[in-house]
Subunit: 273 residues, 2 copies
C-alpha cells in the first residue's frame, strides 16, 4: 500500500486524459468559459425495474459529526400565501449523498463538474454483511474484491462499486453511528488497500457504501477518502436498499447536485435492473 | 376548462388508486409508520446515450422572485482543515428543480413521497420554440399537443411531457426573466387548458419546461400550477438541453430530492436515449 496521496499527480493526469477522451466522444457545449460535456454515448443498456437507493433525509438523520444535517425554514405557507415553499440550511454531506473530488483535495472537481458519463454506470455490489455483523470495524480488503470476482467475473469496465455492509438496517438506532466508550464511531468501511486495487487495477468510477462513511468509523484521518477522492472519482454514503440489488447487472443513475463549488451533497441514487 | 382546483378531490382519489396499484407491483418496505415503495417494475427500456438536462446552479442563477437562490457557506476548508465542506442556504425552487404536489396544495405529496416509479418514465418533448420566439407570452395549447401527436403518435403511457420553448438559450441574459416595464415577467409557459388535456385525457406523470415556471411569466396567479400539482403530478423548471432530446423515445430519470417535507428542490435530470 502506498502512502495516501503519493500518486495524486499521476491519478490527476489519468483523470484528465479520461476526460479528454470522453469529451471527444460526447457533445460539447461552451458554457461561459467552461466546455461542458452534456451528452455521451454509453454501452447499450436495458432495464425493466427501478430501485430507489436513497434514504429520506430529515433533521433527525444521523450525521458523521453528530449534529443535525438540515434545517427547514418556511418561506411561504399554503394557508397564508397559497403555496408552500421552504428554505433548506443544509450541511452538504447529509443523508444519502455523494462526495466530489473537491471534498478531499484543493482543486479537484466539484459536484457540478463530474462528467455526466460517470453518473450512469454499471453497478457492482460487494456483500460483506456477514463480516460486518461479526466485526463493526470491518474494512473491505483486496481479498473481498477477489472473492467477488471469482463468483461474478471481473468488475465491469467503469463500474461503480457498492459495499453492502447491512448497516442500513441500523438506521434509526444508535448502532448506525455506534459511538463507543472510546469516543470513536464503530461502523464498517473500505480499507485503503482495497481502494488502491479499484483505482490501479480496475476501471472504477465511484464507490458507494450503506454507512456514514466509506472509511471505517473508527479511523479519524480518512485514509480511503484521501486516496479515493483526489484520484478524480466520486463516493456515495448512507446508500439505501443495497440488499435489493443483484451483485452484477444493474446500472446506477447518480442524481447528484449540479451546484458550482459543491463538495458533494444529497443525491437521488436510482438503480436500473 | 374547469375552475382551478374544482376536481382536486377526484384527482387525489385517482392518485391514491394509482399508488395502491404500484405498491402491489413493487417491493414495499415499512419505514417507521410509512409504507414506502422502493422498487417497481417498468416496461423494458433500452438506452445507449445519456443527456444531462440540468443547469449548473450558483448564486447568480436567475429566480422567479429575482433574489439569489443559494448561498454557500464554508464549514471546513482544505487548507485549514484538510477537507472542503460547505453549508448551503437554499431556496427550494432554484436552478433546475422539481415541484412536488405539496408546493401548491395543503396536504399533497412532498418531494420525498413521489413514487419512485414516477421518476423513471418515458419523455416526450413538445417543441414550441418558433411560437415562443414570436411571442414571449406564448402558452402551450391543446392544439400543440394534438399537432405533436399527429407527428409522433399518442403520448406514451405515463410519460413526462417536456416543453421546449428555446428559452434556455437566454440563460445568462436579462431575457431569461424578461421583466417588462409593466413589472411582469415575460416568458412562455403552459396554458391551463393544455394541462387539463394531459391530466384528463392522457396518462402523464410530470411536466417539464426550460423556463423559470410552467405558468407563463406574466400570470401572477399560477393557474397551471394550481391545476397540475394538486392532481398528484410533479413539475420541473429551468430544464436544460431539451434541444438535444428527440420528441419521443427517451426516458427521463428524475433525480429529485428525497427530503421529508420538501415542496420540491434542485434535481439532477438525466435523459436516457
Amino acid at each position: 500500500m502506498c502512502v495516501a496521496g503519493c500518486d495524486e499527480a499521476m491519478h490527476r493526469a489519468l483523470s484528465r486524459r479520461r476526460l479528454f477522451r470522453r469529451a471527444a466522444a460526447g457533445a460539447v457545449l461552451a458554457t461561459g468559459l467552461r466546455a461542458e460535456v452534456v451528452s455521451a454515448a454509453t454501452p447499450p443498456t436495458r432495464f425493466e425495474k427501478v430501485i430507489d437507493l436513497t434514504h429520506t433525509l430529515d433533521p433527525a438523520f444521523p450525521t458523521f459529526f453528530g449534529t443535525s444535517g438540515i434545517e427547514l425554514r418556511t418561506r411561504f405557507s399554503y394557508r397564508k400565501d397559497g403555496l408552500n415553499f421552504l428554505q433548506w440550511v443544509l450541511d452538504e454531506h447529509s443523508g444519502t449523498h455523494i462526495d466530489a473530488p473537491l471534498h478531499f483535495s484543493e482543486n479537484g472537481a466539484d459536484a457540478s463538474a463530474l462528467p455526466i458519463v460517470d453518473l450512469v454506470v454499471p453497478l457492482a455490489v460487494i456483500d460483506v454483511a456477514a463480516q460486518a455483523a461479526a466485526n463493526a470495524d470491518y474494512a473491505v480488503t483486496p481479498d473481498d474484491i477477489k472473492a467477488w470476482e471469482e463468483r461474478n467475473g471481473r468488475l465491469p469496465d467503469r463500474a461503480a462499486v457498492a459495499i453492502h455492509t447491512g448497516w442500513a438496517q441500523h438506521l434509526g438506532t444508535a448502532k448506525y453511528r455506534n459511538e463507543g466508550p472510546d469516543g470513536k464511531l464503530h461502523f464498517p468501511g473500505v480499507h485503503p488497500a482495497a481502494a488502491e486495487v479499484l483505482i490501479r487495477e480496475r476501471s472504477v468510477t465511484g464507490l458507494l457504501i450503506d454507512t456514514l462513511s466509506f472509511d471505517i468509523g473508527a479511523t479519524k484521518d480518512f485514509p480511503t477518502h484521501v486516496l479515493w477522492l483526489p484520484s478524480g472519482r466520486w463516493g456515495a454514503e448512507n446508500v439505501a436498499n443495497l440488499d435489493q440489488v443483484p451483485p452484477v447487472g444493474a446500472t446506477i443513475v447518480v442524481g447528484g447536485p449540479k451546484i458550482r463549488g459543491a463538495t458533494g451533497g444529497p443525491s437521488r441514487l436510482i438503480a436500473l435492473v
